[in-house]
Symmetry: D2
Subunit: 342 residues, 4 copies
């Protein structure tokens, strides 16, 4: 059996670990051959491949990024997309396709499988951890680790200079990185996209923290918005709303805090640091097990499925499940951790 | 309500994070007061306490060890143990006791709760991850991280010198650290207590790995034993069995591999390194959530219970569950990862 | 003898290690007593102190920040500054004062010692490493470590997405962090304040790197400026010069690179991350040795001096030396490392 | 010009960084070609080579180990060794040979250059930092980092369990790793090969540390010996001297401390961990600059020299200098840091 593999969407640590596990088990246990498709869905769309065998995956377990390349190409944005992909698979004799990606990549896989008969199996990855159907996605544990290391560092600066330090982490629609890194990093305020925040309440927490002799750390997901709404982010402190948004929410919030509390505030935007570098041990473990189970699913021709973590087990769920609304932070969890605010 | 807290057994990263969460929520949400008992069960047995309030737990989230001290004292080894503990609690007005520990500490808590009416709530910790009733214990993720970092380092030495490197990790009765760190570290052989190993098979894997131009890393749990049985560990290579055991299984195995394959082999024993230092972000998250839920259980006077991780939820299970046989590595999981051996 | 200690200027890792060494040797070997002055020169100016003895410094070796607090207060900005400081020292019976700081703090110490008879000994710290008179300053090695870890992470993202990644590091007047972290991180372009850069040449390097199948990393010190001059930084890509500067040089350069090469470019600004957290082993070593030698100088009443690293020796140099022009990157060194550009 | 490169002796982090810098500058600036000799002196002795060009060194900067392999082969142990090496160089048209190694490898290079006309340039590496003629050797900073990270971890365990923790680090003839890691790690006792230690004095320090409420960490170089002499290491605690030595000095010392003080003591042997893994930023910097200067020396046919660090400059010294007695820890430095003992 010949099997195709692609990695789509933004890169994250652990992609190579999945590919390696898929190839090791496919070759050694099932005798499969492999075709690597280059740059996500662009690969099967345009027939671009990279060699993929035991040798190609050697030594890749601890390496970040993806040896297959990635892109955000959406093949279903073009009318002949599904047909071209089927043609490419036929041309290379590929009978099963493992797509490793986030909501967009897996959403495409779901539609290709359900509506166009493309034999897809999905593997969920995203540092945002917001895919429904699985307890955790690849890349999340590493991203949280980067954020916590940064927060640990910033504590000492906050204390030495009596400053508010705002840390902007990733999370456009779900605040998983914010709540995990904020809690583990001992942040005094954690703001998430799921709950519009009240700047005055934030300033109240900041002020009370100073009274307790500590300088506060505020962790804010880049998708968090104030109660006044997204438009407020274009406003200068004390100024008129509705202007062009010039900066991220972290920078905006620091300026508001300075304006309202009179305390110095600084922002650190972690950005790409959260998706680079060697995967954490937990991500290597999860990625490897996802890979081993994905090739099982392909071997059993159980297409239209995605591997997922349930507790400590790897299970299969319908790919459709990964294309629904993002899995967001439960309000009860957010309330539970609120004891540490202020 | 006045609540006692103790940490028992061998130390592990995350203990302070539990204590901090217990105190923060207890004081701020429930208005509890706290008594810290010193050195595990020795504290309530001998009436030794340490002050425990918001100030005492400040800044302790990222710190390893335990501010309460620990010991392996078993109060039920003495006839009047349960009575003395009840007396101490009465003396200090303690109406609920949170015991943070592994199998021994929680086994004692279970018996004290079930047989002697001591109002205990348990929190599961052990780097070995072998407690029944919970998906994960505090300390495990950090210990795996230490082991993987070591294995990552050793790869380059193995390759430069064409040597077999044996890494002995903790795991007396369960091979969780071995399988997680071995898989994440890209080990070529992983040996666990659950499966007696065949030295000749290990040597076969080692030899085949050399033929693939790589130098092998062997990860062995310190409780793993060869098929010939525990007694063989006293044997010198090629020598007579049954002598006194002079070294750990890692050192013994390296000597056997050298003797049987003619390849140089060296051993690294990680030992205490696995239980020290700052907890990983995942351990801080788990420890904090365990602490928040443990104080809830105390507040609700739901004694005789232990907080536990099920999937992504924190639940309560009977303390009894933690005193049963150790949770060991499922043979199917061990077989699943066997694709990477050799 | 009673000795005062203060830490001034922006915080950096290793300050506590100096203070600890000063106190340990002062108390144990010389029998000194200590007064900690709070928040840099503000402490002796306003008579604010913190207790400073063996107990106060216990456990502080690995901790970032400063237990004494810091500020950028300049006592010589007020007419009665020197007099007030002399008065405070007299009031507390302080016969020697150890000032740990960068160019500003030590410049003040030099003037106080030379012009006002204040018995100062200086210890050089700054993550920028730009103090004359010493081979290295405290905090530099840690800052480089943070930057290299970030660059290591960003490599995988650059490669997976075929993007230019610009990393802005600290260095307003000297490019030490840029050249050390850029070289150690395998950057393809390194830009420093000492050498105005030619954007077209940078774009040429970027383009040639893409042809070699790698995605480039550009490291730029935040004080670097293009050949067109500082004013150009206010310009939008392809736009008119002379507008208000809206962002740092890293962000500006990324936009220029995108505009001129058509390649995607992203910026990461490390900012405060470089000055926080636990000091590296090399910084702990240097800070400790500086502290041991600074208290020797005080004990010998060798005031108006600064401890400094020459080779592997700690020596004393006149404090004046630390107040001259910043120590910048030698053009020959910059040329030497140019072999890795492009 | 064709240039050979080899790496000899035990591996250490930074070897690949030297090779990469040599090749990058040699090819790009001087137009040299390269021959990699495999496994140290075995390569030119037996004519075994590996391809060495820009492509071969790509991505190797952060990688530990050596892409050329290493061995401890001594070509001068055989009568025809020098001649065979000359023959191999002639056969491959090699006009200059860069030998990267420690005392043995460079001693051989010195004799080959001085007595047999082999055109050698040396680059000093050893984690032990004991080569004369240079302020620092490649690998040392990384090894110290590993040791300090371990000591940081062990502090929490020592404190939680009131145990003495003995950490055995490398250093057969010189205590550089011990003094640097012990000082930076906050050890309470540091023992080096240069100064035979008095077990009773060590026990006195251990006991006084317990009285100060801390649990002690003892760092001991593996070449340290008690005052009673090497033979004592074969003795069981309280037993007769002169038996076979069964363990390292760390294990022996822990048993003695337990016997004499009644405190529990445990040993951690860091061993190979100190020489593996990715080089620290400081080692990458030093290795890269050594490489750039070594190829300059070859290009100028300045053979019989070794590159060396003096202060912040890279200079050339006669290779002979590296073959003398090891550079040991100055007794005054050891006395300076003694303030932290006990």
């Amino acid at each position: 059996m010949r099997v195709g593999v692609l990695t789509g969407g933004r890169d994250c640590p652990g992609l190579n670990a999945v590919v390696r596990a898929v190839v090791r088990k496919g070759v050694q246990v099932y005798g499969h051959e492999f075709v690597g498709f280059r740059d996500g869905w662009r690969g099967p769309l345009e027939g671009e491949t990279v060699p993929l065998d035991i040798r190609a995956v050697r030594g890749t377990l601890p390496r970040g990024g993806t040896i297959l390349g990635s892109s955000r190409t959406d093949p279903l944005a073009r009318e002949d997309g599904a047909g071209r992909i089927r043609d490419t698979l036929a041309q290379f004799g590929v009978e099963g396709l493992i797509a490793i990606g986030g909501r967009d990549t897996l959403g495409t896989a779901a539609r290709l499988a359900d509506e166009h008969g493309v034999p897809c199996v999905g593997v969920p990855k995203t540092i945002d951890n917001d895919l429904p159907g699985t307890d955790r996605t690849i890349g999340f544990d590493t991203a949280v680790g980067v954020a916590v290391e940064a927060i640990d560092r910033l504590h000492t600066t906050a204390e030495s200079h009596k400053r508010v330090l705002v840390v902007e982490v990733m999370g456009g629609e779900a605040g998983w990185i914010a709540v995990h890194s904020g809690l583990a990093g001992g942040a005094n305020v954690i703001l998430v996209p799921e709950q519009p925040f009240d700047v005055d309440q934030v300033c109240g927490w900041v002020t009370s923290r100073f009274q307790a002799t500590y300088s506060p750390i505020v962790v804010v997901a880049d998708g968090a918005v104030p109660k006044e709404g997204e438009a407020a982010l274009g406003r200068t402190p004390g100024g008129t709303p509705g202007q062009v948004r010039l900066s991220g929410v972290g920078e905006w919030l620091a300026r508001e805090i300075e304006h309202r509390t009179g305390k110095e505030a600084r922002t650190t935007v972690l950005g790409h640091l959260q998706r680079g570098g060697s995967p954490s041990p937990a991500d290597r473990w999860l990625a490897t097990r996802f890979g081993l189970h994905a090739i099982d699913a392909v071997h059993e021709r159980d297409f239209g499925t995605m591997v997922a973590l349930h507790g400590t087990d790897i299970v299969r769920v319908p790919l459709r499940e990964a294309t629904g609304r993002p899995r967001t932070v439960d309000p009860r969890l957010y309330e539970e951790i609120g004891v540490f605010f202020g």
